[in-house]
Symmetry: C2
Subunit: 207 residues, 2 copies
DNA sequence: GAGGTTATTGATCGCATGATCAATAAGATC
DNA sequence: GATCTTATTGATCATGCGATCAATAACCTC
């Protein structure tokens, strides 16, 4: 009899770390940040919990990193989707439609868990603050662009950015429990956005 | 030797149930809904977990009931605080000041945990929906009052109520992680409220 | 004061969590 | 092909969770 062939595939630290990160991201998007557990991550990629511990000695850190990567990706995706618009008004339309659309409900869940879990996970709280700033900066850029083009008329850009983020996050939180009215919610944001951006009523309505 | 005196104080089911409910509420307000655990409730009132189980066979139910009572109390307290105002505009001012004040951060935490936990706790999800409706109805009443008095000018009252709730909840969620700017946040809500209620700019500014 | 109801306990189960540590073996180096 | 590094495992610990069930004793009723 020949020797039993090796059953363990040994991966490079880089690959394995990436694999763990991806597994954590997938879990977060399907089960929320509370679902990122040592054993859940290990089971998803078919390794032992010890191995996950080996790469990520602190679970809190894995959670906060995962959150950060998910949101960074979110911003990137939304930015790409908006890029197609040929005006700032169109971009804002697309932004609202995307952010309050049903396809992003899994990211909403991640945000909710982050605010909730941030109380106990200090690293996560810090990361949440950073990503909120990133989102606000992104919106500020979009609004400034609209002002420069003469489409928007905004006194305090930073303020309006926070206001829009606030209502978007609030309504998305609401949608977690109150299902079905995606269209209505977009309308709620549009009205406010039109007011705050100095647009005519209906300027952000669906084309 | 006389008989060993009784060490166990036996309470009436009504009293004990009330005691358990209060303990759960206190825990929720200090540690969030995730902190309501069989053992935590039992420890707080100095009894065994079995006893808590005896009164509340299902923990999910205790959590959802606790949430409902906390929010019902919240609405009552805010209503009382607002009642002092002699105009709808003043009431709206007080409402914003109260809801975004630092004294209610513990209730914000309860709302956050409710949206997060509602995914796994069906009873809680239902209760959250009910309490959101209650809050919206309360706001609708306030806005209608303002319209009747000729202070507000609102086309779709229900819509504006949801908008205000949305931004209030969103900004409060933000405050969980981004500390310090309570004043700023009230300002953000005021601006939007003035627009949506047909008020002049600055009408809701602090007196 | 005897008897019955039931509030309350204690013990225990099954499961999940994060974490640690010695042992193993895969793969690179020489 | 021997050697060394280290990725990976398996076993195990301490803790926490909800839940169940028989045993106990406090209180009420007669």
């Amino acid at each position: 009899m020949s020797t039993v062939p090796s059953r363990i595939r040994r991966k490079s630290p880089t690959d394995r770390a990436a694999e763990i990160g991806q597994a954590a991201r997938e879990i977060a998007l399907s089960d929320g940040l509370y679902g990122i557990t040592l054993r859940a991550v290990a089971a998803r990629i078919g390794v032992t919990g010890s191995l996950v511990s080996h790469y990520q000695p602190n679970m809190d850190l894995l959670v906060s990193e995962t959150f950060g990567e998910i949101v960074a990706t979110e911003i990137g995706e939304v930015a790409a989707e908006i890029d197609a618009a040929d005006s700032a008004t169109g971009a804002m339309q697309a932004l609202i439609d995307t952010l309050l659309g049903p396809k992003r409900s899994n990211v909403t869940v991640v945000w909710l868990d982050a605010w909730s879990l941030g109380r106990r996970n200090k690293a996560l709280a810090a990361e949440v603050g950073r990503q909120m700033d990133a989102w606000q900066a992104f919106l500020v850029g979009l609004i400034n662009d609209g002002c420069a083009r003469g489409e928007f008329r905004v006194a305090d850009v930073a303020t309006v950015a926070w206001q829009l983020l606030g209502i978007i996050d609030g309504l998305n939180s609401h949608a977690t429990v109150r299902y079905g009215d995606a269209r209505t919610q977009r309308g709620l944001v549009r009205t406010i956005a039109e007011h705050e951006l100095g647009l005519a009523a209906g300027a952000l309505d669906a084309r």
